[in-house]
Amino acid sequence: MNILIAALCGFLYFIGTSRLGYGLTQATGSPIFYGMILGLVYGDLEKGLIIGATIQLIYIGIIFTGGNMPADQSLAGIIAIPIALQTGMDVEVAVGLAVPFGILGIFIDQLRRISNSYWISKAEKYAEVMDSKKIFHCAITYPTIVIFLLTFVPVFAITLFGADAVTTVMNFLPQGIIDGFGVAGGLLPALGFAIIIMVIGKRDIMPYFFIGFFLVAYLGVSTMGAAAFGFCVAAIILFNSMKQNGQEAG
């Protein structure tokens, strides 16, 4: 693969996992965002977006409770998308390729958090001499340099050499396996949704899940349409409960 593109991928992965800006890396590190950028680069915006969104859905439910990363959507995306665009891989197979990297990325994050222990001990020293500038560097500058090294280098390497390896493998993939990846592509998003149900699904509001489900299943409403109805229903319930609690609706 082109060295420039490999560098771009390394850079995108760095940006998307740098954690600069709380929640910002949910956007800059989203497989959809990667898909858009790389789709433009490869001249197939639509396919880029579709692969990105398909990967995104698998990880849509992820929450970093206590700072722990359960899986790394950014690494999954930044490896699979360019290779798929380059080799003309099916979307489903690309997703199959993405998943193992989603796991590998966790280790990178663990290295990062281990190394961060060093900076906090440094920061304590600077606190004693009230050097707030140095504290700033400990909090932002130094960890960012570390994460750059941890992220840019491996992704640069893999994307530079990965496509050829993958193309070779793909020529030998039997149709049955490709069908299997097709199932995976359809099945894995269930994971993302199940995780969210774990977090927000108390029993007495579970019926709303099914109403949403059947609204699409039986009435063919689009997701945006469902969102519109969902907002209205949630607003009614909120206003009602506020009225009952005698709170001001503000």
């Binding site: 977006l49 995104q56 849509i60 960012t144 199932v183 949704f193 059947f214 945006m224 109805f229 506020m242």
Partner: protein
């Protein structure tokens, strides 16, 4: 005492608060370590404001810096209310100088509230707002609209606006009002409605994006083949996707959230069922 009056008595200006929030927003997770999590980010966020608060009191400033390097972890958006309140407490401490507000009170407040607020924020911001925005983004992207790649940025935007609002009201309203708000039903109502919206969307999304069906058919002589998927659709449209979502859900419930182990299992199951034509991905 009106809010305007409160504001006038305060040391920090809106600009100071904005800077504090910017420092926080930028660094929340950057320095996150297993040992103290967001401690360094917390201290870094407050450092300049503390300098202004403890103007001539070097010792006080130093102690404050050290104090806020202690273990801290909460959800970054809603958690910013803690920063606000802490600043107002530090200010009071700096002013009164006696022990009316001791170090323990401040630290106690921080550690007491960071847990509950993390729960609220993780549910509302990360468990509801984030997946909804990403779901909208996905659905636009899957239609090939490039705006889908930009929609995720609505999430950090919302985080910035809500977080700064939190910090500012924490600073102006102080400790009591935050505790009061936590006790009022409002937050529970909010969580409840947000969860309802979230679940509703997850239902719609499951129905749209979990795409598995069975290609199984049974053929008998002299009659049309029995298409299993047709029978399933007669019974309940989407029965397989529902089974998938709740299969995973109960796996997690019963076996614990071993995310990556499960993901591997799912791929194995997919390959096997796909290979033998039991399931298909659409």
């Amino acid at each position: 005492m009106s809010l305007e009056e409160v504001k006038e008595q305060r040391v920090l200006t809106d600009k100071d608060l904005k800077k504090t929030y910017a420092r926080w927003y930028l660094s929340v997770e950057v320095s996150n370590s297993y040992e103290r999590l967001q401690a360094l980010a917390f201290c870094n966020a407050l450092s300049e404001s503390l300098k202004k608060i403890y103007k001539d009191d070097e010792e006080g400033y130093k102690e404050a810096l050290m104090r806020h390097l202690q273990f801290y972890n909460s959800e970054g958006t809603f958690g910013a209310v803690i920063h606000g309140v802490v600043l107002s407490m530090e200010e009071e401490k700096a002013k009164s100088k006696d022990e009316s507000i001791s170090e323990e009170v401040i630290t106690g407040f921080k550690t007491g509230l960071m847990g509950p607020i993390a729960g609220i924020g993780d549910t509302l911001i990360w468990g509801t707002l984030k997946p909804i925005i990403l779901a909208l983004a996905s659905s636009l992207a899957l239609s090939g609209l490039f705006i889908g790649g930009l929609v995720p940025f609505l999430f950090p935007l919302a985080v910035i606006l809500i977080g700064y609002g939190m910090l500012k009201s924490g600073y102006l309203l102080g400790k009591e009002s935050v505790v009061k708000l936590m006790k009022s039903g409002l937050i529970n109502n909010l969580i409840n409605s947000a969860s309802i919206l979230g679940l509703f969307m997850m239902g719609a999304l499951s129905s749209t994006y979990v795409k598995i069906s069975t290609p199984l058919k049974f053929s008998f002589e002299n009659s049309e083949p029995i298409v299993i998927q047709d029978i399933l659709d007669q019974i309940l449209v989407g029965i397989l996707p529902i089974a998938a979502v709740f299969g995973i859900y109960f796996y997690f419930k019963l076996r614990g959230q071993y995310y990556n182990r499960l993901i591997m299992w799912l791929i194995v199951i997919s390959l096997v069922t796909g290979f033998f034509g039991i399931l298909q991905g659409s």
